[in-house]
């Protein structure tokens, strides 16, 4: 099924408490090479057929105003995935 994948991350400047907690935990487990962790979200939009350029544009708009909170998050990518 064709999908559009939207990836949203907390803004780079802002604290990411979940990422920090996981990073601390990984440090404790001995994974010292990992210096930082940031946790975002991946959203899949499913389509019957490969999305048209218009639909991709729409998805970008949806990602910006509805799927993310622009005050504290950034949409880092909107991409088409076809299987």
């Amino acid at each position: 099924m064709p999908k559009i994948i939207v990836e949203v991350m907390p803004k780079a400047d802002l604290l990411d408490p979940a990422g920090k907690a996981v990073a601390n935990s990984l440090q404790r487990q001995g994974h010292s090479a990992i210096t930082n962790v940031r946790i975002g979200k991946r959203i899949e939009l499913h389509y019957e057929e490969a999305p048209t350029p218009k639909q991709i544009e729409d998805a970008k708009e949806i990602a910006a105003y509805f799927l993310s909170n622009g005050v504290i998050e950034d949409v880092v990518s909107v991409s088409v995935e076809e299987l």
């Binding site: 802002l14 408490p17 005050v71 504290i72």
Partner: protein, 761 residues
């Protein structure tokens, strides 16, 4: 990753006295910028400019409100000061409650951030006030919140309501602090400017009191807790754009993200540091971040400080010195630690896995030096930053619209007399968004975590036990009626005080101290400034008459959308003490066969009432008459009667009048009753509408076991409190108001509890 950050040094500032600086963009006035130059004898460096601009802002300097806030310290008697351990000016006031215990409490606003980002804005509002309480040496024991949202039918209201309520519940619940009450009001005046005020209360032993000051030269200045990042520094981007050479202006976020688990660790870590006595002074980092903490600690201690800014642990290495000074990253504290105690300090913070860095030390010379590597970027007298900022006596003007508003009384509105129409009006009032049960909101908060909560919403006040040995506890209630204050800010503020006072008394506690959070429009509008002047005078005069001191507070100006200010909304919080929380008085009826008494006199006072708003969409006239003498007598009666165990339940009368109190008392535990109003009509010479809906003050609804009747009525008469038996509880599961209306409890619950979940659930 590391990039060369060019800095503006004091040396550079002397060399380039005429360099153009963005003081205007940072919110400073020409005179203020000139004054900084006079203080320093040169132009400020960009770091100094950042510090002065934020510390001299309205939010930090209280420059427009200071001249009015003074009266809270002046209109007091020695008797009022007796139990006050720390008064205004510190992070929070501290009150001696006996048995070696003290409590500290304060309300603060987080209005603007909560409109931009409701969840994080409200969450960090809770975090900030809890740290203020912690800074006094106290363990935070409860929180409350005072919320004002826009019209329920506006499309943006649900965004703000849902975000704010989840933000408060998330942060408070994660911290394990019970949320014991608060208030929620909807009105279109708050549409573009909701109010999110948060209160916290903490308990400490007398000897554990801590103050925010750096006194002893040689003591270390230590920053501990979360790392410093680019949170909440949107405003200083203009400086960043100057100092970022190649990449152009950087847009930094204006909001902060909170981490309640980090705060919980910080609380336990700080309390352990206090217990080990390794901290000589402590300050939390909130608004204005390091600028505020360093300058206030030094200024309060009449000392100075020399600190190395490069020692601050950063989340983001690209931060400029100005941004580090301004950052409002959450969950950080600054401690002043004697050198000999550094080892003990280190052991404790390491145990809690809290990061820290030694930034520098306290010096004798009252000067704040901040270094960036080898370069001196700040060299200022700390007092000029923290305490001797500008003070304005802003113009005041009697509002042009207020006389016509006052002349438009609700007394001429049409009234119903038929049973059917009155029942319909009662249903409309108690199911209106402002009078309906707020349990959909308060049920999202944990009221009982910690196991010390004695009373919580929907009771009149929140009550928590402080001493688990003796049961000693405190009760807190808050109130603000923006409509009353719009009609008459002096009286309206006293009414808020009177209601909070009455709420505390109704729970069986003795009112003892006051805090406030004064939410107003722009101080540059003379009509708003007049409202502020009236409100503060009303509160100070009222506290003097009641004999309870203001211990601290907060002012929030610029609450407006465009040119339209919110209603003046001075939130007044009253704290009371109860010897044993086991003697608390519940707000609802408990058993069948108890007599129901109305204390106080009912007048025809419907101006600004819930009835006028709900039934006639009307606001005008004069708010109810304040009678603080009577309020005091009522509180003393409650205390006396409760000591003798005479009172089964008590509920204060306020918005919505008698009928609202009757319905809430019935629904609290699902107990029915038969009520008659004819004796009120006769004695007070009022009609049914006034008897049901009037918002006359100094009234309470009391239920008393039959065996205690004679004693109770005798006590009222001896103290000159008007008392009238108006009903009796029964086992019918029905509420009947004779000649007016009847409901089953189930039907009433649907009316009262259905509204808010339907709107936002």
């Amino acid at each position: 990753m590391t990039k060369n950050i060019s800095v503006d040094t004091t040396k550079e500032a002397k060399k380039t006295p005429d360099k153009a600086q963005p003081w205007k963009e940072l919110g400073l006035k020409q005179e203020e910028y000139d004054r900084i130059k006079v203080i320093l004898g040169r132009r400020p460096t960009s770091a100094e400019l950042a510090m002065y601009s934020v510390m001299w802002s309205e939010h930090c300097s209280y420059k427009s409100s200071k001249i009015y806030l003074r009266q809270f310290g002046e209109k007091v008697t020695p008797e009022m000061r007796k139990n006050l351990m720390v008064g205004m000016g510190e992070n929070a006031g501290v009150v001696d409650i006996g048995e070696g215990w003290a409590v500290t409490f304060k309300v603060e606003s987080h209005n603007h951030p909560s409109y931009i980002e409701p969840f994080q804005g409200a969450a960090t509002g809770v975090g900030g006030i809890v740290r203020d309480i912690l800074t006094m040496g106290a363990r935070p024991i409860a929180v409350m919140d005072q919320l004002r949202f826009g019209a329920v039918d506006h499309p943006d209201t649900a965004r703000v309501v849902n975000g704010v309520v989840s933000g408060i519940s998330f942060y408070g619940n994660c911290l394990g602090l019970p949320n014991i009450g608060g208030e929620t009001v909807f009105d279109k005046v708050y549409q573009g400017n909701p109010l999110v005020n948060a209160l916290s209360v903490g308990a400490l032993r007398h000897e554990d009191l801590k103050l925010a000051k750096a006194t002893n030269p040689g003591d270390l200045v230590i920053l501990f807790g979360a790392r410093t990042g680019a949170d909440g520094i949107g405003g200083v981007s203009v400086l960043a754009s100057e100092t970022f050479d190649s990449e152009g202006p950087s847009r930094r976020p204006a909001v902060q993200v909170g981490d309640p688990f980090a705060e919980k660790v910080l609380i336990e870590c700080s309390l352990e540091l206090y217990a080990a006595q390794v901290v000589a002074g402590i300050q939390d980092l909130g608004g204005a971040g390091l600028s505020c903490a360093t300058s206030e600690l030094a200024s309060n201690g009449n000392a100075g400080m020399k600190v190395q800014l490069k020692n601050v642990l950063l989340r983001d290495e690209s931060l400029t010195p100005e941004e580090i000074l301004m950052s409002e990253s959450q969950e950080r504290m600054m401690a002043i630690v004697p050198k000999k105690d550094l080892k003990a300090f280190t052991d404790i913070v390491n145990k809690h896995e809290v990061e820290f860095s030694v930034m520098g030390e306290v010096i004798k010379e009252p000067r704040l030096y901040i270094m960036w590597g080898d370069e001196e970027i700040v060299n200022v007298p700390p007092r000029t930053v923290a305490h001797d900022g500008p003070v304005y006596e802003r113009p005041v003007a009697y509002p042009s619209w207020i006389d016509s508003l006052k002349a438009n009384s609700a007394s001429t509105l049409p009234r119903e007399t038929s049973e059917e129409a009155l029942k319909s009006q009662i249903n409309q009032v108690v199911s209106s968004p402002n009078q309906a049960s707020k349990s959909w909101i308060t049920d999202q908060y944990d009221h009982y975590v910690g196991g010390n909560t004695a009373l919580a919403m929907p009771d009149d006040s929140g009550m928590v036990r402080v001493s688990e040995e003796t049961g000693l506890g405190v009760a807190i209630a808050t109130d603000a009626n923006g409509k009353y204050c719009q009609l008459d800010p002096y009286t309206g503020t006293q009414l808020a005080l009177a209601e909070s006072y009455r709420n505390v008394a109704a729970s069986g506690a003795s009112p003892m101290a006051v805090t406030n959070c004064l939410n107003f429009g722009s101080p540059e509008n003379p009509e708003v400034m007049w409202q502020f002047k009236e409100a503060t005078a009303g509160l100070a005069d009222g506290c003097l008459e009641l004999g309870i001191p203001v211990t601290g507070g907060n002012v929030s100006f610029y609450n407006q959308t465009g040119d339209v200010a919110i209603y003046p909304t001075p939130v007044v919080g009253v704290l009371g003490v109860i010897d044993d929380v086991a003697r608390r008085i519940p707000s609802g009826w408990q058993d069948e066969g108890n007599n129901i008494y109305l204390l106080g006199i009912t007048r025809d006072e419907l101006d600004g009432s819930a009835w006028a708003e709900t039934i006639h969409d009307h606001l005008g006239g004069k708010p109810p008459v304040v009678d603080l003498k009577q309020e005091k007598a009522l509180a003393e009666l409650m205390h006396g009667a409760n000591l003798q165990g005479l009172i089964a339940s008590a509920h204060d009368l306020s918005e919505g009048g008698l009928v609202q109190a009757i319905i809430e008392s019935s629904l609290r535990f699902g107990v029915g009753a038969r009520i008659w109003l004819n004796e009120i009509l006769e004695r007070d010479n009022v009609d049914l509408t006034a008897a049901l809906f009037s918002e006359s003050q100094a009234r309470m609804l009391i239920s008393v076991g039959r065996e205690d009747d004679v004693k109770f009525v005798g006590l009222c008469e001896a103290r000159g409190i008007p008392v009238l038996r108006i009903g009796v509880t029964d086992s019918t599961k029905e509420l009947i108001i004779q000649d007016v209306a009847g409901w089953t409890i189930e039907e009433l619950a649907r009316e009262h509890e259905g509204t808010i979940p339907e709107l936002f659930g």
